[in-house]
Amino acid sequence: MDFHYSAEDERFRQDARGWITANLPPGWGRDVHEPEDEHARYMGRLAWEKKLYHGGWAGLAWPREYGGQGATLVQQAILAEELARAGAPEGLNIIGRNLTAPTLMHHGTEAQRRRFLPKILSCEEVWCQGFSEPNAGSDLAALRTTAIRDGDHFVVNGQKTWTSFAQYAQWCFMLVRTDPAAPRHKGISFLLVDMRTPGITVRPLRQISGESEFNETFLDNVRVPAENLVGALNGGWAIAMTTLTYERGPEDALARQIRFSRDLDRLLDVARTQRRHGAPAIDDPVLRQKLAGAVIEVEIMRLNCLRSFSRLLQGKPLGPEASFQKLYWSHMAQRLYETALETLGATAPLAAGDPATPAGGLFQTGFLQSRAFTIYSGTSEIQRNIIAERVLGMPK
């Protein structure tokens, strides 16, 4: 056990820090912020992600043959820390990088990897995820979208929902029913679908935060080349489990941790300026306990990620423990934003847009967004089933 970084890693950190400083606009995070407008914000994120790619910072730990840098997971974590320190924007192609890519590395053909992976890194192709349907949420295997073989194509019909970033995506990986007669889990296949194919309609859904990150996606006789099948026909369920493991895994969690850590830092500033009972809020002993609890939980989230990285570095597979990461951070983040609103106290009802709200409404938005954390990529109830049944060995 050693949390010191090697000299090489420290050099890497300095390089990363230097590059980030040189490439973010001057005054970033202080007088220059991400745009309020959602579309402009996402376009800005995409531009930043492309900039990172051209600077050689994308896919650090990916193999070189797929456009990666062949660096270590530790260096990837260092880069993430440095991006956070600078308050750099998040990316837009998170689903491509964190979900499509590892899924194809595990289950794709060599041709699929060479076709898709480099363009994920370069952000020429943004990805979305077509798993959930109106009647297949927690019970994902109930999905009904069909794909019927027709010559060298599949013809896809049905509806997907909660499709994040579908309006910006060129590609979607999708679970489809290819054998309606087979037992539920054994008739599902994993398809890669070009979002520009005729027959696809995307309709944005408004979220409780007011944002429209996710969408309904309608599929009407969409023709998908058969070569875009990943793995075996009707073998999609096992592949989806790989995807979900990465969705819940430490790389995804670390990127989020950094955002929580940044918001927490901002919160500690706000706690000093907000007043409560005629004194700075930070002097209130009850609030101090909660803020300290938040500091502890956010730091443990980071360490939990590093602990998982160590397992991965030893070549141990990421298994159902990924559910543990997701269950931990989702509830932690909800407590964090509740504490943030408590810190705002009487000013909590002010929202983004009001000049008097502290931190520009960051915490109100974070609070609303956090309600989704325990729902998406598998509700907490599903994660608990997975942990109880597959880690603890309890009966179904």
Partner: protein
Amino acid sequence: MNFDFSAEQIMVQDSVRSYLADAWSMARLRRLIEDDGDGFDAALWDGLAALGLPAILVPEALGGLGLGFVDLALVLEECGRALVPGPLVETMIATDAIVRFGTEAQRLALLPGIAAGRLRVVPAIVESGDAPLATPLAGGWSLSGHRMLVPWAAQADKLLVAVRFAADAAAGLVIVDPQQAGVSLRAETLFDPTARAFDVSFDRVVFGAAEVLGGGPSAAAVERIGDAGAVAAAAQMCGIAARMLDLAVAYACQRVQFGRPIGAFQAIKHRCADMLVQLESGRTAAYFATWALASAAPEAVRAVSMAKAYCGDASRFICNETIQIHGGVGFAWELDLHLYLRRAKTLEYSYGDATAHRERLLGAVLAGREAA
């Protein structure tokens, strides 16, 4: 950057676990409850000493293994899991302070004996409202006051007493022989009947610089022994919580109600999943804290307080829920659950409880931000 234990560290854990499985049992532990004597299990002490546990932190030149706090982490967890009674862990905590702060003469006098399992040293640092005060005297000091909850004081060869020095208002650790004139012990009645602790009074106990750890007052030594104790408590709580979760899961899989094992009900299995999340997050914090202590990292204060606060809350949740999952038998004296509960509760309030550590951590974080 590496968050893993080495193969050797895991081997030591395995050897401690298998020794305890063979040589130690809850039945043996229960004898300590009925025992009116000193409660000290000499055979267990000798066995664990033969395995080399008290020698872990002692430098090789002084007959020890020359290892650090990280090497102790999994051993401490096993001690918790098996409810190993003191004063083994207490001696390890004191050893850490002696290794770091002792003068050459003090290290020579104490550490070889500790490594060989001949000498038991325990901390006497719990605040009691009448903290021992050292007033200057020709050639030394005179010590009066008392410390409560001194673990296994009657079985200890030396106490490391946290003392205030009147002259310069400094703090320090003083090596006191519990048999020395002016020292008196009152056995305390404890929540954990398998533990022993004493209220120790000091009445004009005379000592010189040779008895002050490091040769003079050292607030750092007092803070360090508290930190070592807090991390040792956090690691032991992880061990107890892990054992409790094992028991909860095993019981839930075997107990049938409404025609099914109760572990098939989500009300039970979901709780067990939450217990696992807290257990593993507690381990993450405790392991990191052992590293921070071992490497004297700048974030040590924060790491220690984080571990003690989080593990205290996690252990509380896991122990309470394990009893709940057992239903009626969970409340029965004959089941061992309450013994784990009592030990865990004691550790939860030893070396600073979660509330105190949260406040300490926030203070450190805010001070760090001021400085930055």
